[in-house]
């Protein structure tokens, strides 16, 4: 019964949607202080390469590899962030763009370590690892009626799902905390925020480092889900793709990047014929959205509207669940 429902391909797509959601949130976090970072693809690459190399060469457990990848990315984020975040937003966008390019060039040229533009294959696979560990405890996927292959993809999906929920939960909490309010104040008016006693450099670097950490984390997950990475995966196009998740979905609320990543990852899979023109459509989407709805599809007003609508309906039909989020 369960076996018929599970198509590895669908779960693969679902896993990529979840990774893209994490990436989208990483840009959203930096943007929530009004800073545009285009280095997230680079940080993603750092995370992916760090984790892949550590697990291949030092036989580190995948969990530690992923954590190390995220931390290295965050560290680099702080190093890049401190000098550049003192400048205006446009500078940061350019420097981060340039940083991403430098990372890519280094990946291509440091052949002894990264195998150049060929990329690294044979990276330990999360799903197989989970299966191996569970088998060590005497578990067999056949017990719940699944092939090994199906179980692997199912386990990856469930793991990523839990992680993504955790990430969303954390950043929603943070948004309502002192830190989140500081971010919002800086986004609205840096000078006013500074005069209110907010240490804007600290909070900007914090947001930038969080973005770097999160994209490094997503990159490491990506490496262990796909088991193959190459410098082309983390180039300018990836940076723009991540940016589009946020621009399309909405950069004001966390649901924006989530919706953007979900919709834009699914669209080319469902509409196969679009896939060839995908980037052209992306370009058009950006231009039109910036002219018509620069805050993205989902914004605070829309959420409030949905909330009140949900409330009204709740009273009418008497279903108690008014908390739609």
């Amino acid at each position: 019964m369960l076996a018929e429902l599970i198509n590895p391909y669908h779960f693969q797509v679902a896993s990529f949607i979840l990774i893209n959601i994490i990436l989208g949130i990483s840009v959203y976090i930096t943007l929530s202080t009004g800073q545009l970072s285009l280095a997230n693809a680079g940080f993603m690459g750092i995370g992916a390469y760090t984790s892949a190399l550590l697990t291949i060469h030092f036989d580190l457990p995948i969990v530690l590899g992923i954590i190390a990848g995220a931390l290295v990315a965050a560290l680099l984020g702080i190093l890049i962030g401190i000098p550049t975040l003192r400048l205006q937003g446009v500078y940061l966008a350019i420097v981060t763009l340039g940083f991403g390019e430098v990372i890519r060039v280094v990946f291509i040229n440091w052949e002894s370590l990264t195998k150049g533009s060929v990329g690294i294959s044979g990276i330990p696979h999360i799903g197989r690892e989970i299966l191996r560990v569970l088998k060590g405890f005497g578990f067999d996927p056949k017990v719940i009626g699944l092939q090994n292959n199906q179980f692997i993809f199912l386990s990856i999906f469930l793991l990523l799902f839990i992680i993504t929920i955790g990430v969303i939960w954390f950043f929603r909490r943070q948004h309502r905390s002192r830190v989140g309010r500081a971010f919002a104040a800086i986004k609205l008016d840096e000078k006013a925020a500074e005069s209110m006693g907010i240490n804007i450099t600290y909070y900007k670097v914090l947001a930038f480092a969080q973005g770097a950490l999160l994209s490094g984390f997503a990159g490491a997950l990506y490496a262990h889900v796909l088991a193959y990475i190459s410098p082309a995966d983390f180039a300018y196009h990836r940076a723009v793709e991540i940016l589009i998740f946020v621009v399309f979905g909405g950069s004001e609320v966390i649901w924006g990047p989530i919706f953007g990543a979900f919709f834009l990852t699914l669209m080319p899979e469902v509409l196969r014929f679009i896939s060839e023109y995908r980037y052209m459509i992306y370009g058009l989407i950006i231009i039109i959205l910036m002219a018509v709805r620069p805050q993205g599809l989902i914004d605070v007003n829309l959420l409030n509207w949905v909330k009140t609508k949900g409330k009204k309906r709740g009273q009418k039909h008497g279903t108690g669940n008014t908390k739609s989020m």
């Binding site: 420097v95 058009l284 231009i287 002219a291």
Partner: protein, 291 residues
């Protein structure tokens, strides 16, 4: 050897300078980083290839066609991607940047579909002509590139400094509202700036095609990124800074290929801006601004 490399570096640098001028003009007047400039530059190069190689027409027609088409693209860019944002209230300063990124993505992939992803050779009829001075070989192409670049730079400096339109443009760059009050048609000036910048990008595209004998859809991106690096290096919105920055980068890249590791050539520009932002954030030639 050294002098030959110097000449190569100056040729490359003068092309970079023209690309960077396009960026710096738009930034000076509008305060916008035009991320689509590299792709307009790439289209200029492709128009050059089509006119001279596919249609077998003379080179000057190639220049004319490239200028015309990139100018039209500049107008469209201003009309559809920038103007709608300007009239809106309360739009984030990042919106035009993101919007031009959209244009660049669209153009890059459009060129994939129009021209194919491969490498297009650019055959100038005089590509092989060279002179021997002592032990030094100089190609005619290099001289042509250099002369065109110098003419363009001098023309632009003259136009900005001495003509009425140039003064109006500088006034607009200084302060849009004041210029508007003083009777400058700022809307027209802005459109004109974007058109001129794009046409310069188109010319630079043909020059690059001639210099490297190859045109690909990806060249727009790498050149655009370098142009950005140069205007940070020279100081944002600074015309002289863009020229000097272009030459510096061209020489630096040429020399690292000769004396260092050629693989890292494309990274120099960005390492340079990261360093420059640490030491002298206003750029080599920029004025210190207090924010």
């Amino acid at each position: 050897m050294l002098i030959e490399q110097l000449i190569n570096g100056i040729t490359l640098g003068s092309i970079y300078a023209i690309v960077a001028l396009g960026f710096t003009l738009v930034f000076g007047v509008l305060g916008i980083i035009n991320m689509a400039h590299g792709e307009i530059f790439m289209f200029g190069a492709f128009i050059g290839v089509i006119v001279t190689t596919s249609l077998q027409l003379p080179l000057w027609l190639g220049f004319l066609a490239a200028i015309l088409i990139t100018a039209i693209m500049g107008y469209m860019l201003e009309r559809f991607a920038l103007r709608p944002l300007r009239s809106k209230q309360g739009v984030s300063h990042l919106a035009p940047l993101i919007s031009t990124i959209g244009v660049s993505i669209l153009l890059e992939n459009l060129s994939h579909h129009l021209f194919g992803a491969g490498n297009h050779p650019f055959r100038a009829s005089f590509a092989e002509i060279n002179f021997q001075i002592g032990s030094i070989t100089i190609y005619l192409v290099q001289i042509v590139i250099f002369v065109i670049s110098v003419i363009l730079m001098m023309g632009l400096s003259f136009w900005l400094g001495k003509t009425k339109a140039g003064k109006a443009l500088r006034a607009t760059a200084e302060n849009l509202e004041t210029a508007s009050l003083l009777g400058v048609d700022t809307k027209r000036m802005i459109t004109m700036t974007v058109i001129i910048a794009s046409a310069m990008g188109g010319i630079a595209g043909i020059l690059v095609g001639m210099a490297f004998n190859s045109v690909t859809p990806q060249m727009g991106l790498s050149m655009g990124l370098k142009g950005l690096a140069i205007i940070i290096l020279g100081g944002m919105g600074n015309v002289k800074g863009a020229m000097a920055g272009g030459l510096i980068l061209g020489l630096a890249e040429t020399f690292i290929v000769v004396y260092g590791d050629s693989g890292y050539r494309d990274a120099i520009a960005f390492l340079a801006i990261i360093v420059i932002l640490l030491i002298r954030p206003q750029g080599l030639f920029g004025q210190k601004i207090s924010t």
